[in-house]
Symmetry: C2
Subunit: 171 residues, 2 copies
DNA sequence: CCTATAAATTTGAACCTTAAAATGAATTCC
DNA sequence: GGAATTCATTTTAAGGTTCAAATTTATAGG
């Protein structure tokens, strides 16, 4: 995190950087980010206040709730769009709380399968019910047509982003 | 983080929790979150790869770039929508790198004013130029009309969220 | 078989983040 | 003008997060 002094000038000129009027896209990105941060913060606050649970733990349990048979850590990290090491730590804490079960995959001894315990499922369902209400409340000023339009536009946005990411950056 | 066992049943029934068909709002929220996470991850990756800088540092510098005279830490934390302690630490590291100046406010000895050093401003401008290009690339499949529609709908979303947050939760 | 490569996780270091308590400075209000 | 309050920031403890390197297990090729 040093030597920021010599700025690379070789940055690929992908989208005509010179004329560079991409202000509207930039503003759109900032607004998108603001909305998400705002809502995420509120959800985090309520999860803590009403259920004494963190957002990442809730997110992890939400993924697992959709997979009755359990999931490998890798699959989890992919769906949650977070790093592997992250999921390792989160799972450990949830197992310690008795909300998650964890066992080695029978078919692949490298893989770890995690799933909700009955207790975990019970707790998650209760949180999810409240969560759905909060979200409805937060979006309550949008008409059904607004919601629909947003869904469509965000689908397009997601596709565009995915393309840009997979096309450009050879990770 | 324990005693999740006894689920509070007293959760305010704000938005008619019983009938409870808020599925479309929930899906919308998940999609919004996906888009943001996707884009944020890509921006973080490129900032690291091309400028060896973290996203939070970039964000902080971006705020400061808009305030030539500098800003107090409190103002920064408010605009960045992060906690106070967060800004304290971030600023310390950026000061150590010579990218930020920091001084006590003359009018209020409690307040700390931070601003970009000339070096910081130079570095930030270069990063911002590249950043703008990445964003344009990421949103490139959206038409100007799409961008416009999204801006409007997200403005409505932001307003709705703010209302829900300030009205309901007396923090 | 045996080696090379790939895949799933874990570990370690550094950093980011929050919430809550503590500190120090300004304001308010008798 | 002194006590109580409010405000800006820092500190602390606990977690969350990433990246990169290391570990362990699978798989493929010869």
């Amino acid at each position: 995190m040093q030597e920021l002094t010599n700025v690379p000038l070789d940055a690929e000129t992908k989208v005509a950087e010179r004329p560079g009027d991409h202000e509207s896209e930039l503003r759109l990105w900032l607004r998108l980010l603001t909305c998400t941060t705002l809502i995420e913060g509120e959800v985090r606050r309520r999860l803590r206040q009403e259920f004494d649970v963190t957002l990442p733990r809730f997110d992890l349990m939400a993924q697992l709730d959709k997979a009755p048979g359990g999931m490998t850590l890798g699959e989890l990290s992919q769906r949650m769009m977070v790093s592997n090491g992250n999921v390792t730590g989160l799972s450990e804490r949830l197992v310690a709380l008795g909300l998650l079960d964890r066992r080695q995959s029978r078919s692949d001894r490298r893989a770890q399968l995690v799933s909700l315990t009955p207790e975990g499922r019970r707790v998650f369902r209760a949180m999810a019910r409240a969560h759905e209400g909060w979200i409805a409340e937060i979006f309550s000023q949008l008409s059904p047509a607004d919601v629909d339009a947003l869904m469509r536009l965000l689908a397009r946005t997601k596709a565009s982003a995915r393309d840009a990411i997979t096309t450009e950056a050879p990770r």
